[in-house]
């Protein structure tokens, strides 16, 4: 009928060819990424020794990118893709991890956590001393510290920031600073903190994010009701980087702070874009469109390391994963049942199949921070012991255990599936109920109408007081009902209060170890693993670090050829 069908084919091929030609001749900007970022590499390397000297040189307009280090050529830009967008940029209003992890580069507190997360070290304060009664702490500020706009740090900035954190209208972190009665500023370089009672965790609390220091004027402005939060995106702290503005949907741009007290960072600018899909993020890294990505799926770490030009790894952080048990619902109110569940859990198997070997067995009931019980016996996998405990328990023939799982975290779903299989061997029939995250959360908090639910925790401070109070303290006034397990051991509550007040480090450690042993024995949780945070980066990127509290640190990053 229509013999000239080939004509249409040629027309279409021409159109397709034209479209692809257009695409190929498209803007060249994103294509050869290594070239763009390594062009200034040589100048950067040779001026590295000059950097500390450059910070004392006359500070010209600090907002211009080619700052004191006399760099020629394009600024060194580190491109990162991450899995979520940040929410709020004010330290004591922050409630999302994404903002936290990034803003650790913008703000500092009087102290900061050490790279391994096990202790604290000086940051804005260089030394401190306590009065004999332990009620007054005097901090000496580091001399010569400037905010990113060049203005000097004074004790007033510290006082205003801390007062807002512990008592401002909009803060949600009042609880952490209950122990502080008053803050005084006898002179611009000294801060005196007066406590209501002796409080050993003070240093760790001052290293926590709500205690980060903002310029006094900016800080006060944020506390007014009706304050336009989008103004806070111009965040100026004393950290290695600052932000000028941010609109949701745009990448977060961190600009180098030439006044940084630790020395000018090598990377001029960090561009952080938001790529939600795990696979796409990793593909962008492979394609060279970004230099660093976070939350690399555990399953892809080995595969990425095998690709030339790319590296991936986990950083051990203070994060644990476990299953919450509601100890008020029979038969979970029987401690033998809870212990049996712990013994019946083959943690190595879960680590191998869910985390691809990138995790460690959790033996102590808290993350690997200060005063963790290093010699904790934990619950080594022992099926025989588990069966024996079940036989002695109130339900020797087993029972059905509904388990609420948030469906947005594939690792937790997979863990639940494996536990279903493992626990069936002791007669426990797990009924997995997948709910969307807020519904899952409402089930475990609120009325607590649940029996079991997998969960995970990341420490905000290295000192054990945060997690011990959140996880082990029960009853009214606990705020969290022992991590929502509704476990309530009055004797343990008292021991926790005493340990929090104890001033002598050795006695405090002994007290927390005892607390951990008691709690471990009562097993309101099924302890599974200590996790790491994963990241991937191009091989020419060095010095990227995720520290013990999961903060992303860019200050030591260098990009080489």
């Amino acid at each position: 009928m229509f013999a000239r069908s080939t004509r249409w084919l040629t027309v279409f091929s021409a159109a397709l060819g034209g479209a692809l030609l257009l695409a190929a001749c498209g803007p060249a900007a994103p294509t050869p990424p290594p070239a763009a970022t390594t062009a200034p590499a040589k100048p950067a390397a040779t001026t590295a020794p000059a950097a500390p000297a450059a910070t004392t040189a006359p500070q010209a307009a600090p907002t211009t990118a080619p700052a004191p280090a006399a760099k020629t050529g394009a600024p060194v830009v580190l491109r990162m893709a991450r899995n979520q967008e940040p929410g709020v940029f004010v330290p004591w209003l922050i409630d999302d991890n994404t903002a936290l992890f990034t803003l650790a580069n913008v703000y500092d507190g009087l102290l900061r956590v050490t790279k391994d997360g096990a202790g604290v070290e000086p940051a804005l304060a260089t030394k401190w001393e306590t009065s004999a009664d332990g009620l007054t702490w005097t901090f000496s500020l580091r001399p010569g510290v400037k905010f990113s706009d060049g203005s000097p740090l004074t004790s007033n900035d510290v006082k205003v920031s801390l007062d807002l954190a512990r008592g401002g209208q909009r803060t949600v972190w009042k609880d952490n600073y209950k122990a502080i009665k008053e803050i005084q500023t006898p002179d611009p370089m000294t801060v005196k903190i007066i406590l209501t009672s002796p409080h050993a965790p003070l240093l760790s609390e001052l290293a926590m994010f709500p205690a980060w220091v903002m310029k006094a004027e900016l800080a006060t402005a944020t506390d007014v009701k009706g304050y336009d939060d989008s103004q806070e995106w111009a965040s100026k702290g004393t950290g290695g980087y600052y932000t000028e503005s941010w609109k949701k949907g745009d990448p977060v741009i961190l600009k180098r702070n030439p006044n940084y007290w630790k020395g000018t960072p090598q990377v001029d600018e960090v561009r952080i874009e938001y790529v939600a899909d795990d696979n796409t993020r990793v593909l962008k890294l492979q394609g060279g469109e970004v230099d660093i990505v976070d939350f690399v799926p555990f399953s892809q770490i080995d595969a990425l390391n095998a690709i030339p030009g790319v590296k991936a790894s986990k950083f051990l952080i203070q994060q644990t994963t476990f299953v919450i048990l509601n100890v008020t619902k029979p038969p979970l109110n029987d401690v033998k049942v809870r212990q049996a569940l712990n013994y019946a859990t083959d943690k190595e198997a879960i680590i191998k199949s869910v985390f691809f070997g990138q995790a460690q067995v959790m033996n102590a009931p808290i993350p690997l921070g200060t005063y963790v019980d290093k010699n904790s016996p934990g619950y080594p996998f022992d099926l025989a012991k588990a069966k024996a405990l079940m036989a002695e328990s109130s339900v020797p023939s087993g029972f059905t255990l509904p388990m609420v799982v948030a469906n947005n975290n594939q690792d937790r779903v997979n863990t639940a599936i494996i536990l279903k299989d493992q626990w069936s061997k002791i007669g426990v029939n797990v009924d997995i109920q997948q709910l969307d995250p807020p519904s899952a959360r409402a089930a475990t908090r609120g009325e607590g109408n649940f029996m079991a639910s997998p969960s995970a925790w990341t420490n905000d401070m290295n000192d054990p007081t945060q997690i011990v109070n959140y996880e082990m303290r029960g009853g009214e006034g606990s705020g969290s009902f022992a991590y929502w397990t509704r476990y309530n051991n009055a004797d343990l509550n008292e021991k926790i209060t005493k340990a929090d007040l104890e001033q002598d480090p050795a006695k405090r450690e002994a007290a927390y170890v005892e607390i951990q042993r008691i709690y471990l024995n009562d097993a309101p949780l099924v302890f599974i693993a200590n996790l790491g945070a994963t990241a991937g980066w191009r091989s020419n990127v060095n010095g990227f670090l995720i520290d013990g509290l999961s903060y992303y640190r860019f200050e030591d990053v260098t990009i080489t050829k």
């Binding site: 279409f12 909009r170 949600v172 949907g249 874009e273 796409t280 609120g446």
Partner: protein, 313 residues
């Protein structure tokens, strides 16, 4: 009735539809279990700080009051403040609407071209190898999930051949066209699969009608019979489906936006639902409803251009 008064009547009805939409979405989203304050505070949520945050966010006010605030703000053109981002919802949503619309228009544009070319090719070569090939290929496209298809295109065209970027949106208009090509073509191919089947069967049917035979008898070349007479008649039902698909794309591009990291409405809607960011969910739903209504109105109007027999009652 006339086209103008028809349009006026439809726009008037739109107000009532939107009102119903606001009631529906407000009740649905507020009766879902889950508390935005608890979501915001994450693992650190204690009973106390959750209560403080709820109070700050105005979540303890009676539902009726919250609904009234929402609707009265909407009438004034303000859609509230996002619970998660603490930014005015207007900026959040309206900055994304052009992106989603742009992606949808891009995708539908490609779909229109693909449909016309391959639908006609298949119709005129009915039964021969070209027709079978087209139908098999598009069957394959239709049955694969869109995220898989999208990642496949990334692997081949972006990582393998390096013709396009992996994901993202770009900064300049030129870059937008380049970055959005892969997501647009992923959407377009899947939508075309349905459109091609429809167009093909309509064209085949119309080619055998009386007026086509008359045109051939008058000596008109087959090409002109097809393009000048048959196509305009055959395309009507395809246009209907096209319009429906376009409406679906308003907010239905979630998967593609996530895979290709396009900052559109779909992605924002998804994250807002999972964090129970009520103002944003409500706003996006209302905006999507408006867009769907407008698109359907345009499609309905277009009939009168395609087919002079159509009148409006």
């Amino acid at each position: 009735m006339g086209r103008a008064s028809y349009i006026r009547k439809r726009l008037f009805l739109m107000v009532f539809v939107l009102f119903g939409v606001t009631i529906l979405i407000f009740s649905m989203v507020h009766f879902l279990p889950g508390d935005p304050a608890a979501v915001l505070l994450g693992e650190r949520a204690t009973v106390e700080n959750t209560a403080i945050l709820r109070e700050q966010l105005g979540l303890n006010r009676p539902l009726f009051e919250q609904y009234w605030l929402f609707v009265s703000g909407l009438v004034r053109g303000q859609m509230g403040t996002s619970l998660v981002f603490k930014q005015p919802v207007n900026e959040l949503v309206l900055s994304r609407v052009p992106i989603s619309i742009g992606l949808a228009v891009y995708a539908m544009g490609i779909a229109a071209v693909v449909t016309l070319v391959f639908g006609l090719l298949a119709a005129v070569n009915k039964g021969r190898w070209l027709d079978q090939l087209i139908r098999i290929v598009f069957m394959f496209v239709l049955t694969t999930p869109s995220f898989w298809f999208g990642i496949l295109l990334i692997l081949v065209l972006a990582l393998g051949l390096k013709w396009f970027p992996v994901a993202g949106f770009g900064a300049t208009f030129q870059e937008h066209i380049w970055y959005l090509f892969l997501p647009a073509i992923t959407l377009a191919l899947q939508l075309s699969a349905v459109l091609i089947r429809n167009l093909r069967s309509q064209v085949i049917h119309t080619m055998g009608s009386d007026f086509a035979r008359t045109a051939r008898a008058k000596g008109l070349p087959e090409r002109l019979v097809l393009l000048r007479h048959v196509l305009r008649n055959a395309v009507l039902s395809t246009v209907t489906i096209f319009g429906l698909q376009f409406g679906f794309l308003m907010g239905g591009t979630l998967v593609i936006e996530t895979v290709f990291a396009v900052p559109g409405m779909g992605q924002l809607l998804f994250t807002s639902i999972t964090s129970r960011d009520y103002p944003v969910v409500q706003a996006i739903t209302v905006v999507s409803a408006v867009l769907v209504i407008i698109v359907n109105l345009i499609v309905d109007i277009s009939y009168s251009f395609l087919d002079p027999r159509v009148t409006y009652e």
